[in-house]
């Protein structure tokens, strides 16, 4: 049992949601009660919430996104991104509750109305009657599926599965330098060879991109699944030969890695794609669920590398 221990990250999460009333959670539901009632999506989610702890404010990213929470769960699928193809595969495999790390409806708002004053660069907004949104929602309802987003609380888990599972997928589990860090000391190889290994192990198509010194001897690798900020890059790049991240902003971290190369630094930055970097962590989530909801099967469904390269 790990839910009594507050990690630093989870503490930050709690602090960030202070003032929001927590759900009435009193810990795991007694087994006797579980056996009497059918396992609905709502019951599954309440058990996950109890095990992971923390507040679950309705304003946070985690929560039900589509389908009826009262639906009886036949099986659970985990995925980094609940694309329609993932949902189709899940329903076909009798997994009608899908836990997704990333949004279902194409953005941070995830089907809700976008914020009135959208800030920063990029593009915002989605029409309520958008045909893709409508068709996806209808498909989910017609097929009795339920989609729940599980991101912040899974990321905040003390065990740090997003990192360790990515390391395991790359075959580096035994090479962790310190137990509380994402630095791995791997068998030395050129940056090019390590990138080849990453492509093969993560089963990517066209999403992997590398910048820096392709001939550099790589021994120390920092793993950063998901999106990496410039501050992490500035602070940690020099202590590793390679950073493997999900994604970065090209005019920030990619630019930094290119300048380090010009300065003669023998390092490389590899981005494998956000979703690809997060899939191993959601595979670990399916294994974890088997200990939380033993009554129904749980399996991981890979959303896959979204990208291909032109001829």
């Amino acid at each position: 049992m790990h839910h009594t221990h507050l990690s630093r990250r989870r503490f930050a999460l709690l602090a960030g949601t202070a003032g929001v009333a927590p759900l009435a959670l009193t810990g795991p539901i007694p087994l006797a009660a579980q056996n009497e009632a059918p396992i609905t999506a709502d019951v599954v989610v309440r058990r996950i919430q109890a095990r992971l702890g923390g507040d679950w404010p309705s304003t946070g990213p985690d929560g039900f996104k589509a389908g009826d929470p009262a639906t009886v769960v036949k099986g659970i699928a985990t995925t980094a991104m609940a694309t329609l193809d993932v949902l189709k595969a899940a329903v076909k495999a009798d997994a009608n509750l899908v836990l997704t790390y990333e949004p279902t409806f194409y953005g941070r708002a995830d089907g809700a109305a976008p914020p009135a004053a959208a800030r920063g660069r990029g593009t915002f907004g989605l029409a309520a009657d958008d045909p893709v949104v409508k068709a996806k929602r209808e498909w989910i309802e017609k097929n009795g599926a339920v989609v729940f987003r599980l991101r912040d609380h899974w990321l905040a888990r003390q065990e740090g599965d997003m990192v360790t599972a990515l390391a395991a997928a790359l075959g580096w589990s035994n090479h962790r330098v310190r137990p509380d860090d994402a630095l791995y000391g791997i068998p030395a190889a050129s940056a090019e060879k390590v990138v080849d290994l990453i492509r093969a192990k993560l089963n990517t198509r066209g999403g992997v991109r590398a910048v820096g010194d392709r001939k550099a001897a790589i021994r120390r690798v920092r793993l950063h699944p998901g999106s990496m900020t410039p501050a992490v890059m500035w602070q940690r790049y020099s202590e590793a030969d390679m950073i493997v991240a999900g994604e970065v902003r090209e005019w920030e971290n990619t630019h930094y890695a290119a300048d380090m190369f010009t300065a003669g630094e023998k390092r490389a930055l590899v981005t494998v794609g956000r979703v690809v970097s997060e899939e191993p962590g959601m595979r670990a989530c399916a294994e974890w669920l088997k200990t939380v909801i033993p009554e129904v099967p749980a399996k991981w469904i890979d959303a896959g590398d979204p990208y291909w390269r032109p001829a």
Partner: protein, 259 residues
């Protein structure tokens, strides 16, 4: 002529009232009062671009993107960073100066970054494009063919695409850099530089994947940030030459960073 005087001339000749509130469009490194021997325009002031500009005797660099690896060019957390010192010392030691034009460039029609993006993508009719040129119609082709054409035309190595390569497409939207346009029901293909892959303002990749799963013809082509905005800085250099006398003005491309 000093760098300051060059910037005053640019503001005077601007086709739109100059937005002085932009914190991006400022001097980033070096002394604005330094005498200008030559001007380099570039999409991004990489260390490599600084070195090549200096070797060519161009001591003023006009860059579209940042110099210090974060969008606002905030250097408060970088004062102890070795690379920051190296890059800044290089500018000072060689009497160079870096000035950025980002927001005002995108506010101007034509937005040279988009003009250049359409040209490098091999899409005709973008000679006077604004930052949001709307839906462009190209001769019907497949997504795979269009992506291959964009690759040949731009020379980029690391173009990434989402969607069905066999999908028949003709309605295209483009956006420069991180301003990759959002996909809409009317559009077949969105072309941009880069975009956060998920959990952003709008996630084109997942939208396109789902549209394909529903049998709709949709595609996304990501050129990379540098490639998407690069070519227009050559147009910008030519425009500067129409009113800045007496100094060489040259386009110094930033290299596509990926291998």
């Amino acid at each position: 002529m000093t760098a300051n005087e060059v910037v005053e001339l640019i503001k005077k000749n601007s086709k739109v009232p100059w937005n002085e509130r932009s914190t991006r469009d400022r001097f980033k490194a070096g002394n604005p009062d330094v005498t200008i021997k030559g001007i380099a325009t570039t999409m991004m002031t990489t260390f490599d671009v600084l070195k090549r500009a200096n070797a060519a005797g161009l001591n003023m660099v006009i860059t579209h993107e940042d110099t210090y690896w974060n969008d606002p060019d905030d250097t408060r957390d970088l004062t102890a960073n070795a690379l920051y010192k190296l890059k800044t010392d290089y500018v000072l030691k060689n009497e160079m100066v870096v000035w950025r034009n980002h927001d005002n460039m995108h506010a101007t029609t034509p937005d040279y970054t988009v003009v250049g993006e359409l040209r490098s993508a091999g899409i005709k009719g973008g000679e006077n494009a604004s930052m949001r040129p709307g839906i462009l119609t190209i001769p019907e082709t497949t997504l795979g063919e269009l992506a291959a054409q964009v690759k040949r035309s731009s020379g980029a190595r690391a173009i990434r695409c989402v969607g069905d390569p066999k999908a028949r497409v003709s309605k295209v939207v483009v956006g420069p850099g991180y301003a990759t346009p959002r996909m809409t029901p009317e559009v077949d293909v969105a072309i941009g530089g880069e975009q956060q892959e998920a959990d952003g303002g709008f996630d084109d990749a997942e939208y396109v994947m789902d549209a394909v799963s529903l049998g709709m013809a949709k595609g996304l082509i990501l050129l990379g940030h540098v490639i998407s905005e690069q070519a227009g800085m050559e147009d910008y250099a030519k425009w500067l030459g129409t009113f800045i006398p007496g100094v060489p003005i040259r386009f110094v491309p930033a290299e596509e960073p990926f291998w």
